[in-house]
Structure formats: C-alpha cells, structure tokens
C-alpha cells in the first residue's frame, strides 16, 4: 500500500478521535449560553470534515473498499467499510445534517443530533451485520430522543409507537443475524445463496425477520403507522432527517440483505441451477409489499389536511417505490440491476425533495403557526422564494422531466416492466398501480401547493413576515441539487451506480445492454409522464368537486389498530391481570406451592426415570 492510500485510510479514525477530544475539552466550558455556539460550530465542522474526507476517497474506492477492522470488539471483531455502495449515502447524510442544522428553527438537542449523525454513518459503513446492528440500535434510540425531547406529553405518547416498533424491529434483525450466524457460520456481508439453498425452512424465517426488521424502520406496510403518528408532534428538522435518512437506512439494510446475502457469488451466479430460487420467492413478496406500501401511503396522504401527516404518508408511499425496486432486484436476481439502481437512485432523490418539502412546511409553520393546509392560502405573495422552492420539490417528487424524481421513477418503472416481462404476469397490475400511485402523488402535491401558496390571501396572515434568509439559503442548496440531478441524471449513474452494480453479482452483459448510456428522454417515458400528470390533475378536480379529500377510512382498516394496538394492549392488560389476580395468592400460598412443586418435580423425575 502506498503512502497516499494509507494516509487516506487513517483519515476517518483521526477525525473521529479529534472530534471526541474536542467535545470532551469543550463541553465543560460551554455550559454558559454565550459559548453555546462554539459547540455548534465544532459539530458542524466535524460533519463538514467527515463528509469532505469521505468525498475525497472516491478515487481510492475505484480500486478497493477502504476497511477498518476492530478485532477485539464483542469478542468476535467487527469491521467498517467505505465502498461505492455506501459512498453516496455517507455524503448524503453529511449534506442533510449540515443543511438541516443550518436551517433548524426549533429546539433540538445537539448532543443527540451528533449521536444520530455518527450512528447513521456507523450503520452505513458497517462491514458486518453485528456492527450494523450496534449502530442501528443506537440510531433508533437517539432519533427517538430527538423526536420527543421538549415536545410535551402528547408527543411522548405518539412516539412510543416508534420506539417500541423500533425495538421489535431490532429484535427481529438480531434474531435473523443470530440464525444466520449459527446456520451459515458468518455474519459478514457475503453472498450466501449457496448456503441458503442447502438449508431447510430456517432460511425463510431469516428472510422474513430481516425484511420485517428493516421494513419497520423504512415504514413498510403494514408497519408504516408509526410515521404519521410520530411526525405530527416532532420538530420539522427531525422529520426531515427521519424521512430523509433514518427510513433510508432501513431500506439500505434491506437492499444490502437482498443484493448481498441472498444473492449468489459472481462465479456461480449464472451457472448453478436454482441458485436464485430463494431470492426470487423473497423478491415476489417484497415487490407486492412495496406496491401495497406505495398505494396505501398515497391513498392516506390524499385525505390529510395536516402538512406533517401528509408528508409523512408521502414518505411512506415513496419508500414503497424504493421497496418495490429492492423487490425487483431480488426477484430478477442475476438480471435485477435495474431494480437495484432504481432503489438507490430513488432513495437519494427522495431524500433531497422530501427534506426540502419538510423545510418548506416548517418555514410556513414558523411564519403562520398553522399546520392545517386547508386553513392556509395565498402565501406566495408573502413568501415567493419559498413558493418557488416548494414548486421545485413538488415537481421533483411528482416526477416531472428535468427534475430529479423523473430519472429514478422512470428507472423503477422500467424495473417493474422487466419484472413483468421476465417474470410473473401478475406484475402487469403492479405496473398499473404504479402509474395510479404516481398520479395520486401528482394530485396530492397540486393540492399541497395550491392550498398553501395559491388562492386568495387570508386576512389573518396579512402581517406575517416573509422568507427567512438563512433558512431559504439552506433550502436552495437542496433545490439546486434537485435541478442539477434532473438536468443530468446520467452523471450519478455513470460515476456511482453503474460501478456499484458491476461490483455486485449482477449480469454485466445486462447492465451493458440496458443501463449503460440509458436514454432518459425517450418519448415513451415522457408521454407516460404526461399521462400521469393529466390523471393526477383529473383526480384533483374530482376530489375538489365531490369533497373526496375529507373522506375517512373506517377504523378497522387502520393498520395501527390491527397490528400494533392488540399487541400493546395485551402487553399492558395481561400483566395487570396477572398481578391483580395471582400475585397475592402466590405469595401467601408459598408453602402450598412448595409442596405441589416438590410432588410434581419428584413425580416427573420418577416417570422419566422409568422410561430411562
């Protein structure tokens, strides 16, 4: 190894250590309010430094991933790795934390802000599943702290869904890792299709546990209900981070699992018969889960009046796109790079425009103190720049050509068509739902934009202030990126996604044929998009005319009442019942229990003794 690359390798640990030392030195002196900013600046400086450091490793990554090994930790040793796969996400995380920190106007705790950042990086960089799990749990807990700190009791109540679901998710991932470790002898990110093929039913349990665990974090149907519930009371900045990054980490984990663990090694991928069968079965389920997630998300979003809830449901719906992409990658196996690239691309794009949308909503809220969009209106005169930024983000999320959403959505559209062509005929309907959901998204954002910014200015907002310079600056960074990616969608593809896909076990010939030099501006996709926009506009008109946006679903359809409530109710009521009914009896009947138990123990032993 030459000096340059070893210097590069030493960079990240030294930055982290430097930061830890600085924190320890500085924290005791910053308890006074006037020194508070010093600590903020150190945190920001740290984030800039890490991001910049990771950014310059790009050249090195082309040759080989940079890995760090901590051989003594946990008794088995863990590794951390920067490779082309997580490179983009690490940069994205740095960008989001900087922009959101710059933008933020509410009280958030900078200690947990830093911890969430570090744990997100740790999760992304984890070279094996154990370190992944370690940081994943830290991320769950610290993001919970961000969501509830100083937000009052109602938010605590609401966010308990998040933390308990998070714990369940963590436990299911842990058990999947354990089972994998026991049955295959490794918890590295390696290709295990061969081992899974020779395994009994256990592989399905492993797959289900992994997908449920990551699905909870990425708000997959039927675990999505925590998102709208928690987002309603959480700070806008935290919502932005949550839907921009924490959900993505869940999806990232799922993508890693299906594209690494469940896939076969390159050397045997195309020759061994039946090696992709498991991946195919999992993929089939995951595609439909993704489709359901996006449909449910957009359907629920259409009925919301609250900006936060609506954006939360849209996050769910957009995560549905990503999950569908992951499903296609798994379903088509060797031929699945389209789904793979679509999923990564859409994760990044969704981060950009959803964070921007949350920021817009936050700014509107800061000026008007109102989260119900039906009560807003005509704000474009007061805050024109915000309106333009909102329009950019909305065009991004709806998939307008020249904005970033178009690129990833059309790749995902290609992916689902491929799934239909190479696979099962039922995906024809999936493709239909895909279009319908896209139209629903268009309708929803026409609604979002027009209710907030268009229409007659309301009387009570005559005296509010307009755009806020610092916040608008922060938001414009994202808007510029949205347009830049929209204009040249091929740069990210060529520089990052295609090399990543080539390093995975996908068919290189397939990538060469369909993905390299893909033409984003073909007439079919463009015409399809126009159709979607017309359909969305139609739904909007119909909805307005017949008041469809105020419809409410029957309570029994609510996933929370079906999935989460029964469990928590049982967990609360059963102990109470046990304690009230049995505790005193048990304690006062001590000698009696002893006598019975002694008899049974001896009896059992005697019986078993006769058999032995």
């Amino acid at each position: 190894m030459n000096i340059e690359s070893s210097l590069l390798k030493a960079g990240l640990p030294s930055i982290v250590i430097l930061f830890a030392v600085l924190e320890v030195l500085v924290t005791p002196f910053t308890s006074k309010v006037k020194y508070k900013n010093i600590r903020r600046h150190i945190v920001m400086f740290f984030i800039v430094l890490t991001t910049a450091y990771v950014a310059i490793t790009y050249g090195e990554l082309q040759n080989a991933p940079i890995s760090y090994e901590l051989s003594n930790l946990f008794g088995v040793g863990v590794t951390f790795k920067i490779d082309l796969f997580n490179y983009a996400f690490i940069l994205l995380a740095g960008l989001l934390w900087l922009v959101v920190g710059f933008y933020n106007f509410e009280k958030i705790n900078y200690l947990f802000y830093t911890i969430t950042y570090i744990s997100t990086l740790g999760t992304l960089m984890a070279g094996d599943l154990l370190s992944f799990f370690l940081f994943f749990e830290v991320m769950t807990f610290s993001s919970y702290a961000l969501m509830v700190l100083n937000r009052g009791e109602e938010q605590l109540e609401a966010a308990s869904a998040y933390i308990y679901m998070g714990i369940i998710g963590g436990l299911s991932i842990l058990s999947a890792i354990l089972m994998m470790y026991v049955y295959t002898g490794t918890f590295q990110w390696t290709n295990l299709a061969m081992e899974f093929n020779n395994m009994g039913v256990a592989k399905y349990f492993i797959a289900i546990l992994f997908i449920a665990g990551f699905g909870i974090k990425s708000a997959m149907f039927p675990f999505h209900f925590w998102a709208p519930k928690t987002y309603e009371g959480a700070p806008f900045a935290v919502n932005a981070l949550s839907s921009g990054m924490f959900m993505k980490v869940g999806a990232y984990g799922m993508l890693r699992v299906v594209s690494v663990l469940f896939s076969a090694d390159k050397s045997i991928a195309s020759v061994t018969e039946g090696i992709w069968r498991m991946s195919e079965q999992i993929g089939f389920v995951v595609i439909w889960l993704g489709i359901l997630t996006m449909a449910v998300g957009v359907f629920m979003a259409l009925q919301q009046g609250n900006m936060k809830r609506m954006l939360a449901y849209h996050s769910v719906s957009q995560m549905g796109y990503v999950i569908m992409g992951i499903g296609v990658a798994a379903y088509l196996g060797f031929q699945g790079p389209m789904g793979f690239i679509g999923a990564i691309y859409h994760m990044i794009n969704h981060s950009l425009f959803k964070v921007l949308l949350f920021m817009v909503a936050g700014l509107v809220y800061m000026r008007t103190r109102e989260t119900d969009m039906y009560k807003l209106g005509g704000l474009w005169k007061k805050m024109p720049i915000t309106a333009i930024l909102c329009l950019i983000a909305a065009l991004g999320i709806t998939g307008m050509p020249l904005f970033n959403g178009f690129a990833s959505k059309s790749i995902l559209h290609h992916a689902i068509i491929e799934a239909y062509e190479y696979g099962h005929p039922s995906f024809k309907y999936a493709e239909l739902i895909f279009k319908l959901v896209s139209a629903g998204t268009v309708c929803s954002f026409i609604k979002f934009f027009s209710f907030i910014f268009l229409g007659e200015p309301k009387q009570n907002y005559d005296h509010i202030k307009g755009d806020h310079t610092r916040m608008v600056e922060a938001m414009s960074i994202l808007a510029i990126l949205i347009i830049a990616i929209g204009m040249r969608p091929d740069i990210l593809m060529d520089k990052l996604f295609i090399p990543t896909a080539l390093s995975m076990s996908f068919d290189p010939a397939f990538i060469e044929k369909y993905i390299v030099d893909m033409n984003f501006w073909n007439s079919k996709d463009l015409i399809g998009m126009v159709g979607v926009y017309f359909l969305g506009f139609g739904i909007f008109i119909l909805g307005l005319k017949y008041h469809l946006f105020h419809l409410h679903l029957p309570r029994w359809l609510n996933a929370e009442n079906v999935v989460y409530r029964p469990v928590t109710d049982f967990c609360e009521d059963f102990p109470k019942y046990c304690v009230q009914r049995y505790e005193n009896k048990m304690i006062s009947g001590d000698v009696f229990i002893y006598a019975i138990l002694l008899t049974t123990v001896v009896g059992l032993l005697v019986i078993s003794g006769f058999h032995a």
Partner: protein
C-alpha cells in the same frame, strides 16, 4: 505455592472481622469506616491474588487441615470459583462503600455495627459456598447465608420487613432441609460427601439405584430452586428484595442468588455429571421452568408500581436466562449462563443502587412519580439507563453480550423455540424499563413544569435550556460515596459490553472442568 492457604485466610479474616467490628465500633465514625473498608480491601487483595495464582498456575484442590478428601473438607479453587470469589468481593466492596452513606438513612444508628457484622458473615458464607468441594459443607454455608440474609432484611424493623424475612426464613429452611435430605440420600448411595468422590462413584451406581438418585436430585433441585428463586419458587423474593435496605437488596439480588445458582451448577455437573442429568431428563424440565420464568417474571414486573419490587421481579426473569443456559447441557450454554451470572450481577447492582439513591434523595418509590428525575439526578439516572438498556439488550452493554451468547447457545443446541422466548422476554423487559427512562428524561416533573418555554425562536442556533440545567446540576445532591460505586459499576457494564472476552476467557477455561 503460598497462595494455597488464602481461601481459608479470607474466610477466617471475615469471621474475625464479624466478631471484632461490633466490639470496637462504638460509633459509626471515620475510624470504624476505615476498619470496615480496610478488612474488605485485604480480602479483595487476597482474592485477586488467588485469581492471578489460579490463572497462572492452574486450578488446585485444597484440603483443610490435611485431613484428606474423604473425611475432611476440601476446597476446589478452579478458574471460575476464583473469578467468582473475586467478583463477589469486588461487588461487595462497592456496595459497602455505597452503604456507608445510605445505611444511616435506612436503619437505626445503634444497629449499624451489627449490620456490618452480618455483611461480613454473609460475604464469608458466599465465598465459602463458592470454594467448597464438599456437599455437607455446602449445606453449612447455605444455612449461614440463609440466616444472615434473613437478618439483613429484617434489620430495618418495619412490619413488612418482618413479614418478608419470616417468609424468607421459612422457605429457605424448607429449601435447606430439602437439600440436606437430598445429600443424605446421595450419601446413602455413594458413601461420600466430597463432590469429586461422589462424581466418580455415581456413574457406576446410578443405574443400580435410579429411584434414590432421582429423589435425591429432586430434593436438591427443589431446595436450590427455592434459594435461587427459579420461577414458581420465587415467591419469597419480591417481598424480601423490595423491603430490605438498598445495600441488602443489591447484595441479595446480585450475589446471594447467583451463589446458589453456582451451587446448582456444581450439583448438576460436578456431583451428578452430565450423563446422569441428561439420562434422567432433568435438563428438559429445567429448560421449561426457565422459559416460563423468563416470561412470567417480566409479566409480573410490568404490573408493579414500586420500583424496587419491579427490579426484584426482573431478577426472577433474569434468573430464568441463567437457568436456561444451564439446562442446555452444552459448553456454550454453560458459558452463557456463567457470563450472565456476572453481567446480571453488575446490572442488577447498578439498578438497585440507583433506585436506592432515588429513594434516598427524593423519597419516591412509585414508578409513576419519577417524571423528570433525570434532570435532578443525572448521574444516578445515567447509571440506571445504562443498566436498564443492558437488561433490554442494547448492543454496547454487557446485557447484550449475554443475550448474544445465550441465543447462540440455544440455536447451537437446536432449540430455536427458546430463541423466541428470549426475544419476547427482551421485549417485555423493554416494556417496563423504557417507560422509567422515558419519564425520567423526557417528561417534565411537576417541579419543572413552569420552566417550559415555547418551542421556537429565531436565533442562529437555538439553545436548549434543559441541557444547560443538566450541566449546571451536575453536582447532584447525592453524596460522592454513593455516586462513585454506581459509576464504576456502570462503566464496568459498558467495558464488558465491548470486550466480553475479559470475562469470557476465564469462563471458557472453567467450563471445561464442568462438562
């Protein structure tokens, strides 16, 4: 080797101290505190020396008075008993340091001397039971333990303490008697009381006298089951551990119960041997009991209002984990169980001590009244949080590592059903530990309510009031002598969470002598 005699010296030192301390101690002043801690420090040094000696030159058997193994008393100083004794003494020192401030608060002044005398005897009993390789000697130490632990519960002189202590006494006598019957039956069959000798003969005779051995095993298991609070026999534990003074609760819950479990392991693997217990199918039933205990202990804990009572029920669940590991009759299972013995010892001590600090400082025992306590007692609640997260099994704490080892052992043994039980139990743990943490840090107490400020302003970086408060209140009204032991235990938990091999290496050496 000159450290050969040390195990006996420790016991003698502690007995002497138990007699001398109340005589010399006129008042609970600086001199007597130094005396108490000095004695413990000497004992700690000796146990450290034993541990180092054993790790360097291997395990050894020590005959008291050179009477020979068949008639005399024998000590078995192997890797784990040396480590266990070191662990016991170290934790006791930390608890005693904590107790110096706390105990004045809990019992009458004139009884303090008696209390420390009892603690010395208790420690002596625990060390003796760990070292001994003789069944009857085990029984003797068991009685010493039962009586002293009963006394350190009832020393508080309240009605519920007397009730709890009486119940404890009755049940523990039943347990001891069962154990005595069991060992008498074993003696009848084998003619030995020395564990090694019994083990050597029992493999020949157990086919001949299956009924005798079964009965003996049943009696001994039930006796030890009562003392170790295995689930349906745990009924004395919640009352006893919750009403006792905090240092006593910590000692009883984190050490005394563990010592009985260690004895149980010895009886199962050193006296009867793996062949006999698998042949009799005992391990299967133990596994079922453990699984029920893991779930029901947590279920009862969720329903509790009193924080110490909740911790006591949580012990019942955690004992289930240990017993599950023991019941697997595999190397991994046993090492997971022994690892959990140490890690639960650390976590439960931290939990009891921090709960005790809350009671000491705020006088609040009810879980629902602990809102916002994290800002008044940040260090205490940080300790509580670390230990509670360990109980839930969050990576980075020792609790996660024991869960990891245990789940691994369960799967290796081909019993994935128990993995489900472990996961459910972990989730239930979260159900009763998390609300306390959440209420302590994220809810504002009644005193703090007026400090609430509106949640927005427009400065460049908004300051957060509460972090300020936290840092300014760093002093925390609690005495340093109570804070330091807790912090040491919490940091040990974290160190073990990242480097479990520090303990695991010793355990792996010891496990081979069991199986």
């Amino acid at each position: 080797m000159d450290s050969m005699q040390f195990p006996l010296y420790i016991l003698l030192l502690l007995v002497m101290a138990a007699v001398i301390v109340p005589i010399l101690m006129k008042e609970f002043d600086r001199k007597s505190k130094v005396m108490i801690l000095g004695t413990l420090a000497i004992a700690w040094g000796m146990s450290l020396y034993i541990l180092v000696g054993v790790l360097q030159s291997g395990a050894y058997l020590y005959d008291i008075g050179n009477w020979g193994a068949k008639i005399g008393i024998q000590f078995n100083i192997d890797e784990f008993s040396a480590f266990m004794s070191f662990f016991i003494v170290s934790l006791t020192i930390l608890i005693v340091i904590y107790s110096i401030k706390d105990i004045e608060h809990e019992i009458y002044r004139k009884q303090i001397a008696g209390y420390y005398s009892l603690v010395f005897l208790l420690l002596m009993g625990m060390l003796g039971i760990t070292f001994t390789n003789d069944l009857f000697n085990t029984y003797v130490f068991m009685e010493i333990l039962a009586i002293t632990s009963c006394a350190i519960i009832s020393i508080k002189r309240k009605k519920e303490n007397y009730m709890a202590a009486f119940r404890y006494l009755i049940l523990n006598t039943l347990g001891s008697l069962s154990f005595l019957f069991g060992l008498a039956l074993l003696y009848m069959v084998t003619g030995y009381l020395n564990m090694g000798e019994v083990y050597n003969t029992i493999s020949d005779v157990w086919q001949l006298y299956p009924r005798n051995i079964l009965l003996a095993l049943g009696l001994m298991l039930t006796g030890l089951g009562i003392k170790a609070a295995i689930f349906p026999l745990h009924i004395w534990l919640p009352d006893a551990h919750s009403s006792a003074p905090t240092p006593s609760s910590a000692l009883l819950s984190s050490l005394v119960v563990k010592v009985y479990i260690f004895t149980l392991i010895k009886v199962l693997y050193r006296v009867l041997g793996e062949e006999v217990i698998t042949g009799l199918g005992v391990s299967t039933y133990l596994g079922y009991l453990a699984a029920i205990g893991m779930i029901m202990g947590s279920v009862f804990a969720i329903g509790q209002k009193d924080i110490k009572r909740m911790l006591a029920y949580s012990s019942v669940a955690q004992i289930g984990y240990i017993i599950l590991g023991v019941s697997l009759t595999s190397t991994q299972g046993l090492s997971a169980a022994l690892f959990h013995v140490t890690s639960h010892g650390l976590m439960k001590t931290a939990l009891f001590l921090s709960a005790g600090s809350i009671i000491y400082y705020k006088g609040k025992r009810d879980i629902r009244e602990l809102n916002g306590i994290g800002y008044e007692m940040p260090i205490t609640m940080a300790v509580f949080t670390i230990a509670a997260l360990g109980m839930i099994g969050i990576p980075g704490t020792n609790g996660f590592m024991s869960k990891w080892y245990l789940s691994f052992a369960v799967l290796e043994a081909g019993q994935p059903f128990y993995l489900v039980v472990i996961l459910i139990s972990s989730f239930l743990n979260a159900m009763y530990y998390l609300p306390i943490i959440i209420n302590a840090f994220f809810k504002q107490g009644i005193d703090n309510k007026e400090k609430e400020v509106s949640n927005s302003s427009e400065s460049m970086f908004v300051t957060e009031e509460i972090l300020d408060n936290k840092q300014e209140m760093n002093v925390e009204g609690l005495p340093k002598l109570m804070l330091i032991p807790m912090s040491i235990i919490a940091s040990l938990s974290i160190i073990l969470g990242f480097f479990p091999q520090l303990v695991m290496n010793i355990i792996e050496l010891a496990v081979n002598t069991f199986l």
